[in-house]
Amino acid sequence: MRLFRKPVTPITLISDDEIYFIIQGDSGEGKISEPVPLDTLLRGEVDPSVIPKPFRERGNRVMVVPDYWLGNTSFPFQSKRKSLIEAFLSRKLGEEFPELPEVKDFFGHFFYQTDQGETMLYAYFLQEQAFFELYDVLVEWDLSPRRITTPAFLWEYRLKNEVSDFQQGGKAFLHNVSNECFLYFFFEGHYLFSRQIRLPEVQSDPSDQLDTLAYETNQSLYLFSQKAKAEIDRIYMASFGYVEASDLAEKLGREVEEVSGLEEGLTQDSMTIGLPGLLSGFCLPDLSRTHRFLSLSHKLLEKEQQWKPVQKMGIAVGLILLLLLSAEGLLLWKWSRPVRVEATQGRGAGNTEAVRALRQYNEALDLFLKEGQRPSAGKTIINLARALPEDVWIKEMVVETEPNPSLVLTGTVRASKPGQFRQTLSAFIDNLNNYFQGTQSLGLQDIDLDTEECKTGDGYHTCVIAMKFELP
């Protein structure tokens, strides 16, 4: 059965200025290391070897710090954009704790609705210098905690499950452990503040403890009403000490409810932490489910954790793709081999000869086509001679057959009177259109008549003409 059990999260607990490293023992119970005094650790007088080896191997998952190391505040905030909220909180904390620059790296937030329906931003942050120093030491030892929480947050989660109307109004919870009592105060379902009361040693009569607890509770109730501007509507108690809920109720003159089921849960589950004090009332699996209770971590670590699933998915999908594509590549490579061999053989002498013959054939066809389209210079001259009227004769002609087949001519036109030019040239144009069918239709405007070169003699007017047109 144990084989299939999920390994339990290693926990670091800071209590009474001492640091404990908790890990699951062989029989499933919480195994706690010898407490290490916090101040000696911070002074660097502690060797990392004091930390149990299994703890070091598994890494520091959850760190439980005293409630007073953590501050909280709530206020209305318009925007719900994470980047905006974080920038605002970072700036606000920086201003509030100028002596603690690291405070900007350790905060969390969420929105909640008040009983009046107002949306509030709840922010929580670490505010203790000792924490930042401890964090640096743990980072140096490669044991930076992934999630940091407090007993108050653990109880908050626990009570939300146990108490039906926990989200409404003010609630007080008393956690009594032999000579100590932890008082937690919640408002509208969220942690507000806590107190740690040291009770007198019990010799024979526990009434001294009861009196002290009743007095301190009343003081705290007054403090709560000042802080929350509301009254506590219920007091709950989990007693692992000498003071009973019924006795306290009688002393306070108001109802104190014993939180039921805690002890049963603890006795049924063998993985209790076994530490009398702060974490009594919890078992190891409670602290393994870090997503259930409120916690925070270094902003960079948080970012790393946020991206981790994406990166893991990226690696997994990438590897699967790599595997599939490699298999496909192998298949293609094997498949292409015979095709390539055939293609290489296909380029043999016989095929080369065939390709050469076809290429020559194509070249021959191109040549036949080109030559077939080339106009005959002789026929062009004959057609031009035929098109010439009696009064037009050619002085120079240029027949071009490639690249742009065309005919350029210069000649002379003769007329007995100026009005006859038009008639002669029109006849010439008509003849050209007739003998050079396929060219663009020619008109009188295509003839360049040089009037300055016109001469008169022998009863005739003669003018020089020039024209150019493309051959079909």
């Binding site: 981790k308 013959a357 020559q360 054939y361 002085k395 120079e396 240029v398 027949v399």
Partner: protein, 173 residues
């Protein structure tokens, strides 16, 4: 901490880069296979075409030969064609014949050649027709004819393109 995030991104990037490279290679390989297959099909089609039209092809190739002058050397070829052109012009009673080739302007197996002559327009036209009919390897590209006066002989400048093919002595036709 930042290093760890970056390292993981590098791993992701590397895996995807390799995967995409393989994909790129695979696509290329697919194209190569398709191309090889197509080439094979085309070769088969070429062979079939050659078999079916072998007579037609060989006739065309033979006809094509007429469009090129086979010569053992370019100078010899030019000398031959210059003589042939001079002889042709003389045959059509054209005078002042001058044949000039421009080997320095040779381009892709062709050399420009010019033929200048003088004579009657009719004979000139006949000469041009004979050139077209019997000398396919010297196609006329341009003819410039100048007739200075009515009834005067025509002076012509004929530009030709000499197409040649250098062959061994045994293959010359």
């Amino acid at each position: 901490m930042k290093d760890r995030i970056n390292k993981r991104w590098i791993v992701v990037g590397l895996i995807w880069a390799v995967a995409l490279s393989i994909d790129y290679w695979n696509i290329g390989e697919m194209y190569r296979i398709t191309e090889a297959r197509e080439r094979k099909i085309f070769l088969k089609m070429d062979e079939q075409f050659l078999k079916a039209h072998s007579q037609e092809i060989s006739d065309s190739l033979r006809e094509r030969e007429a469009f090129f002058h086979s010569a053992e050397a370019l100078n010899l070829g030019l000398l031959t064609v210059e003589n042939e052109l001079s002889a042709l012009a003389a045959e059509y009673e054209l005078t002042g014949v001058k044949v000039q080739s421009q080997p320095d302007q040779a381009d892709d197996g062709t050399i420009p050649v010019s033929l200048s002559c003088e004579g009657s327009l009719r004979k000139m036209v006949e000469c041009l027709e004979a050139l077209r009919r019997d000398y396919a390897y010297v196609p006329v590209t341009k003819v410039t004819i100048v007739i200075e006066d009515r009834g005067a002989p025509a002076k012509s400048e004929i530009s030709l393109n000499y197409r040649y093919k250098i062959v061994g002595p045994e293959t010359q036709t």
